[in-house]
Assembly symmetry: C2
Homo-oligomer: 419 residues x 2
């Protein structure tokens, strides 16, 4: 595994404020890694509402199935209540058959006992190797100790405990007014590889003290992932464990924050924007920590027939190994971008295409730009962030997705991950 921190890691790490009603603790349970934390327990006050979005994989992990089951009644008074979140890294508990289901049940019951809640108020997420049984008995004892030591402050430590091939912990925060009260949103994520859209994403957890119902949280997640986590791809591979959970403790109600139970509530406007900014921040950090990444790549497609068409073309570009290796080689290879546009199967007219790299137009009307200057473009390709902009010239459809380059390090990391 790569240990050097990604050169694209954010240079400034935010101070993570405390969220009323949330306490965190981490431990080294020795699930797979040595000498590092690998279990996170988050304890939420009574009355915390939960929501989640999950992988679209037809073969989801046992923890994903567990969380889905707990959220079934979300929006009614019977479900979507959360008191604990248990996350382990090192083993995804995916493709583990009956043993996997037993491991989730056992983990939830151990956590429920430790926290003093019902098992169906416990949410679970696991990340790491697929196909190997998770020994949930390792949580016995550990979770009790964690429950005793849980404290509000260590968000970076929590983000660190859920890492796998990540090279840096990923956190984001926003503070915003809800009614006249100040409310806070804190998020963390882990990513790195096996990351493609059409899902929530790898693992990400967002907490707020705002008094929001499960249904409101669910609506915020659903609209929020569309242009953040779902507009992100590292390698086109979709994990069986992708999980994004949101928890609202509601403690800000004591400071006067209004209870919001309707997604369309106009008082939610600033909160929605801040919530989305936290998701966007975390998604970008995942792209910045793509396995082996040396360049952050932003693909913008405009002039498509529809926004959906623009998304498909942008994803075709962002998932193309040949585009991604060209970026790794600092080569403004617009021919490969044309190739990726062409294979997307969406309306495109070769002779109307324009393509820019970092604002320098290299191709226009289906051929090399007359003003093309190799030296200028080559210099621009040395930047750590590359924007590929494709103008199709057909309509008003527009989209943006994030990815990273494809380097030999990606192959090295993934050619010897399991053993």
């Amino acid at each position: 595994m790569s240990s050097a921190v990604s050169p694209l890691a954010p240079t400034e790490v935010p101070d993570m404020p405390v969220i009323g009603g949330v306490r965190l603790a981490t431990a080294a349970a020795g699930i797979r890694y040595k000498g590092r934390t690998d279990v996170l327990l988050a304890i939420m006050d009574k009355g915390t509402n939960a929501a989640g979005v999950f992988t679209q994989s037809k073969c989801p992990s046992a923890p994903v199935e567990w969380c889905r089951a707990q959220l079934k009644g979300a929006g009614s008074s019977k479900g979507g209540l959360a008191r604990a979140l248990v996350v382990n890294s090192g083993n995804a508990n995916a493709f583990t058959g009956k043993t996997g289901r037993q491991a989730t049940t056992l983990t939830a019951s151990i956590a429920a006992k430790a926290v003093g809640c019902k098992p169906n108020e416990v949410f679970l997420a696991s990340t790491g190797v697929i196909g190997e049984p998770l020994d949930a008995s390792k949580f016995d004892g550990v979770l009790g100790t964690l429950a005793d030591s849980a404290a509000p402050a260590d968000w970076m430590g929590a983000a660190r405990a859920i890492m796998t091939t990540d090279t840096f912990p990923k956190v984001a925060t926003a503070t915003v007014k809800l009614g006249k009260a100040k409310v806070t949103i804190n998020g963390m994520a882990k990513g790195a590889g096996m990351i493609a859209p059409d899902m929530a994403t790898m693992l990400s957890f967002v907490f707020t003290d705002a008094p929001l119902s499960s249904a409101v949280l669910q609506a915020l997640l659903k609209s929020g992932v569309q242009d953040t986590f779902n507009a992100l791809t590292i390698d086109s591979d979709t994990s069986t464990s992708d999980t994004l959970l949101a928890f609202a403790t509601g403690t800000a109600a004591a400071a006067g924050a209004p209870k919001i139970t309707r997604a369309g509530d106009p008082r939610l406007k600033a909160f929605t924007k801040a919530f989305r900014a936290v998701l966007a921040d975390l998604a970008e950090q995942v792209a910045r920590d793509g396995e082996g990444a040396r360049k952050l790549v932003e693909v913008i497609v405009e002039g498509a027939t529809t926004n959906i068409s623009a998304r498909r073309i942008a994803m075709s570009i962002a998932n193309s190994p040949l585009v991604k290796t060209a970026i790794a080689g600092e080569d403004a290879n617009w021919g490969r971008v044309v190739m990726a546009v062409g294979k997307a199967g969406e309306p495109a007219n070769r002779d109307k295409l324009s393509i820019s790299f970092n604002g320098i137009r290299v191709a226009k009307s289906g051929a090399r730009d007359p003003s093309y200057n190799e030296a200028e473009v080559s210099e621009a390709m040395k930047a750590p962030k590359i924007q590929i902009k494709v103008a199709l010239g057909l309509g008003k459809g527009r989209d943006r997705v994030l990815t990273c380059d494809l380097t030999k390090e990606y192959v090295a990391i993934n050619g010897d991950y399991r053993s």
Copy 2:
């Protein structure tokens, strides 16, 4: 560019027989490469019929558009006649706008003059870098010399002239009875990267002396590519230049071969089988020469709800960077295979899945096989050919696709191809 021959190259090269009515010549026109041939001229006798299948890219190259136009009347008496094929490597003449169209017109007119035919009897294919103008005036003179020197024998030389990042020339041959006469099928291909299905394939040309109409040839191609070139992927990227052309000179009619004008003609049975075998042979050679490939990978999916569903799942596995890097690392990482099944979006039931590597079952009923033996599987993964077999347990749908592993060499080759 990599120069060492792929370790997966065939150890035996067939003796390529002469095809009546076909003469070949190659030259070094200095289009891009130094010290090697880069132009192939094939001259066919009068009365040769042609057919072709092409990339599904929405942004096809100028030569693809040229060939499509010449085949428009194929099947009628007005089109589908061929007297010459000009192939150049080093420049794909793709995404070159009006200049590209002018280059094809100019090349065809130079070739027509050299061969003594009409420009619409000239077929063109170009392969190499995309987006850079092709200077067709370089063919002036060269093609005249080639026409004078063209001879029936040098098929390997022809296959060599059309290579780009290929590490070995790809030829295949079959001899079969048509009626009571012996007829021959010779094929060549170039491949290596930017190879994905839903198309004909990169460049491949098949010649026969059998007296087949354009319509029959077209039908043979259409059905023939389905489980050969279309069941092949190197990197999921679809070239803008993919072209598979077939030419039937009909000279075997003199030896008594019947003229076939109907695709359903029962006399065509043995020929159809042999034709498909040539395509399958060439397609496998392309997989064996996948850029940076160290392992040939055969993915078999069975028990799917339909054959189409099996194809989609097989392609999802074959295109997964995480599966391909695991194979490169000789890691029987069945968890990633489950991931790729799950992301395909096709019917799958995690708990019914079985997965084998080279005949060793590693997963059964959605969990690790009880008889799993790490040492045995690790040993099997050292083989140069890896078969991944997935049994879905849902229905009778079955499919097979070929690919290769994803190595650091792929990234090296493509990270610095253009410059």
